[in-house]
C-alpha cells in the first residue's frame, strides 16, 4: 500500500509537470502559461544540480542504515565538507597563484591519518602485512588520483580538485568519528547523529571566523562544467545532461552503481545482512563490525562529495550564517532516503522531486511574483513534512539502531 502511495506521488508530480509544459504551449501569455514558462531546460538543469547534495546524502544514508547504523548526522557531514572544500581551495589559490604542491601534501597527510586510524581500529586486517598493503594501497590510490588530476588539469583547476578530494576525506574522517562513537562505544545513534550535526554547525562558522574573520568565505574558483562534445548539441536533453557540472555526472553514475553494489555484490549482501540479521552474518564468518564501519565510512564519502559538490561545484564560496549554506539539505536527503524506501533509484527520484521544488522556488523569486521570498523558501520544507506524513514509517532494517556484540570476546 505504501509503495502504491509512493508511485502515486511520483505519478502526480510527473503529471503536474506535463500539464504545465502543455499549458505553456497552449496558453502563452496567460498567468498559467507564464508560470509554466519557468519549466525549461535551464530549470531542469538547476533541479538536477540542486539535487546533488540531497541525493548524495540520501545514498550515503542508505548504506549506513541498511547496515544497521542510523546516520542522521548527514547534514553535519555536508556542512563540514562544504566548508573544508572552500577553506582548502582558498588556502591553495587565495593569493592568486595555485599552490598544487602543498595541496598534494595535505591530501596525503589526511589519507595517511585515515589509514593509521583504520589500522588502529583493526579495520584493515589482522596481520601487519594486511594492514600495510591495504593502508598503503589507499594512500597510493590517493596519490595516483592527485597526480592524474594535476597532469590533466591546469594548476588552478587542479588545486580546486585537490580541495574537493580533501573535503571528501575530511567528511570521511568525521564519519569515522561517528562510527567509533556508535559502533565502538555503543552511543545512541540518534543522539550521536544530532551531535555530529550540532558540532558541524558550530565548527564551520567558528573556523570561518578564525580564517576569514567572518562566517562567510570569500569567493573561490569552482570545478566548472564538463561538456560532452557532440551529445551536448542534442535538443532538450543535451544542455541538461551533457553540459553539466562534474558532480552531476558523478551523481548520475553513483546512483546505479550504489544500486548494483547493494543488490548484486557480496559487499552489498553483507551490508543488508548486517542490518537485517547480524547474528546470521556473524555465524557465516563475516565481521559485522567491519561491514558497519565500511558502510558508515561510505556515507561519509558520499556526503563529502555532496557537500563539497555544492560549495565548489557551483557556488564557489561557503556561507556559514544561520543554518549555513546546507540549509537542511541533509535532513531532506534523509527524507528522500525514506521516501525512496532505501533504494538508490527511489532516493534519487525523491531527491530530484525535492530539488525541483527548490529550483522552482528560486525561479519564482527571480520572476518577482507577488508571493514573498520568505514564504516561497518554505516550499521544500513543507513538502518534506507532507511526504513524511503520507509515506509515514518505512520498513526500517530489523537491526537498525541496535548494537551488535559478537560473542567471541
Amino acid at each position: 500500500m505504501r509503495s502504491t502511495l509512493r508511485l502515486a506521488i511520483f505519478a502526480v508530480a510527473a503529471v503536474v509537470i506535463g500539464v504545465l509544459l502543455l499549458a505553456e504551449q497552449l496558453f502563452p501569455g496567460t498567468a498559467l502559461g507564464e508560470f509554466a514558462a519557468v519549466l525549461d531546460a535551464g530549470y531542469a538543469a538547476s533541479a538536477l544540480r540542486l539535487s546533488v547534495p540531497i541525493a548524495f546524502a540520501a545514498l550515503g544514508g542508505i548504506f549506513a542504515e541498511r547496515s544497521g547504523v542510523i546516520n542522521i548526522g548527514l547534514e553535519g557531514l555536508l556542512i563540514v565538507s562544504a566548508f573544508t572544500g572552500v577553506a582548502v581551495a582558498h588556502w591553495l589559490t587565495g593569493d592568486g597563484t595555485a599552490a598544487v604542491g602543498p595541496g598534494i601534501v595535505l591530501l596525503l597527510m589526511i589519507a595517511v591519518l585515515l589509514a593509521i586510524s583504520g589500522a588502529l581500529l583493526g579495520l584493515l586486517g589482522d596481520t601487519f602485512e594486511e594492514m600495510a598493503v591495504r593502508g598503503g594501497g589507499g594512500v597510493l590510490a590517493t596519490a595516483v588520483l592527485a597526480g592524474l588530476t594535476v597532469a590533466l588539469a591546469g594548476p588552478t583547476l587542479a588545486a580546486t580538485w585537490l580541495a574537493f578530494y580533501a573535503a571528501v576525506l575530511v567528511s570521511t574522517a568525521f564519519a569515522l568519528l561517528f562510527a567509533v562513537v556508535t559502533i565502538e562505544y555503543r552511543a545512541d545513534q540518534v543522539i550521536a547523529g544530532l551531535a555530529v550535526w550540532l558540532i558541524a554547525l558550530g565548527v564551520a562558522p567558528f573556523a570561518s571566523n578564525v580564517i576569514w574573520g567572518a562566517v562567510n568565505s570569500p569567493g573561490v574558483d569552482t570545478l566548472g562544467t564538463w561538456t560532452v562534445p557532440v551529445l551536448s548539441e542534442l535538443p532538450a536533453v543535451g544542455p541538461v545532461l551533457f553540459d553539466a557540472e562534474p558532480i552531476v555526472y558523478f551523481l548520475l553514475l553513483a546512483t546505479p552503481l550504489s544500486w548494483y553494489v547493494l543488490a548484486h555484490t557480496s559487499f552489498g549482501y553483507w551490508v543488508r545482512a548486517s542490518g537485517e540479521n547480524p547474528k546470521a552474518l556473524d555465524t557465516a564468518g563475516v565481521d559485522v563490525r567491519r561491514v558497519r564501519y565500511a558502510a558508515v565510512l561510505l556515507s561519509g564519502v558520499f556526503s563529502g562529495i555532496g557537500g563539497a559538490g555544492l560549495s565548489l561545484g557551483r557556488v564557489g564560496s561557503f556561507v556559514g550564517s544561520g543554518t549555513t549554506m546546507i540549509d537542511g539539505r541533509g535532513w531532506i536527503g534523509i527524507t528522500a532516503m525514506l521516501f525512496g524506501n532505501y533504494n538508490p533509484f527511489g532516493a534519487f527520484g525523491a531527491s530530484l522531486l525535492f530539488a525541483s521544488l527548490d529550483a522552482l522556488q528560486f525561479r519564482l523569486q527571480q520572476l518577482n511574483y507577488a508571493v514573498p521570498d520568505s514564504l516561497m523558501q518554505t516550499i521544500p520544507y513543507v513538502t518534506v513534512i507532507v511526504v513524511l506524513a503520507l509515506v509515514g514509517r518505512t520498513r526500517t532494517p530489523d537491526a537498525a539502531g541496535e548494537h551488535y556484540d559478537s560473542d567471541e570476546d
Partner: protein, 376 residues
Amino acid sequence: MNTDRIPDPLAGLMGRLVDASAGERLVVSVAALFTAILVGGVVTLVAGVFATCSNPSLGIFCYNPFAVYRYLFLAPLYDPFVFQETLKNSALLLFTGLAVAVSFRAGLFNIGTQGQLVLGALAAALVAVWVGRAVPSGPIGGVLIAGVAMLAGAVVGGIYAAIPGALKAYADANEVITTIMLNFIASDVAFFLVSAYFQKPGSGSVETRDVPASAMFGPELALAMAILLVLAVTYILWGTAFGYDLRTAGIQPDAADYGGVDAKRMIVTSMTLSGAIGGLGGAVWVLMSVGRWVNGVPALGFDGITVSVLASNNPLGVLFAGPLFGSMQAGSLSIDFQLGVPRQLVGVIRGLVILLVAMPEFFRTLGVRWGMGGGR
C-alpha cells in the same frame, strides 16, 4: 548481551538510560562536560595557529584556552554586565532545557524547540503590543499584559509542537525530521509575517513594535518563574498519574497501552506540553531580553537540547546545566570582543557535550582501564 531485542531503537535507548543508576549518569555527565571542555581547549589552541594574532606574545598560538575559559565561566563573577547576561541566558535555557527534557522523557525527540520558541515569541510580542493599547499603563496593567502575552506564547508554541506530535502519532512521521523542518518554516513564516504586516515603522531591521515598558521584567523574576516551572514539571512527571503515563508511554508504549493509556494521544499531549514550555521561553525572551520580536532569534532551542542531554533529561538536573550554559553563552560575547576568539566556539562545545554524554560506554572503559573498578 543481545537480549534486548526491542524492535524500536528508541525503546532500547530509553531502557538503557533507565537501567543506568542516577549516580552513574551524574558521573557520565560530569566526565563528559570536562572532556568536552578539554577537547574545546585543544580546538581553541589549534585554531589559534590558523588565526591572525591580535596578541603576538603567545607565539604561534594566538588563542589562550585558559583565558577563554576564564571568560566563559568566571566572567559573571566580576563583570556586572556579564552577570546580568548570565542571569538572562540561564532563565531562558531553563525554559528551553525543560521543554526538551519533557519531550525526551516521553520518548520523543522534539528538536523543534527553536521553532516553537520563535513563534511563541512572535505571538507574545504581538499580543503585548496589541493588548498594551487597550490597557492603562501602570504596574497592574503591566502584569496583565505580561500574563496575556506569556499565555499567548505558550499556546502558540504548544499548537506548533502539536503538529509534529499528531503527525508522529497518527501518520508515523519521524518527529526528528518534521520538527527540524518546522524550525526552518517557523523562522521563514515569522520573517514574512513581521516584514509584511507587523513591521515597526521606520526601522531598518525586521522587528515588531516595542512592547509596553510596564510589561517588561528583569531576569530575577524570569529565573524565579523558570525555577517554579521546573519544580512544577518535576511534580507533574513523578507525582501524578498523568506524569507516570507520560513517562511509561515514552519508555514502554506497549505497556502503557496495556495499562489503558491512549499512547497516540499521549504523544500529542507531551509534544504540546513541551512546545508550550518552549513558547513560554520565547515570550520571556521578548519580555525580558529584547522588548520586541526581532529577526535573528538566538539558538536557545538548540542549547536547550544540550542542557537537557547533559541533565540526563531530568528537570532538576536542568537547574544546574541551564546556568552552566547560560554563563557560557554570556561569556561567548566577551571572548569575541576581548580575546578575538569567535563566539561560535560555544557552539562547538555544545555539540561535543551531547556527543560525549551519548557515549557512557567510553567513560566506563576509561574507568575500568584506570583501575577505578566498576565497569559492567
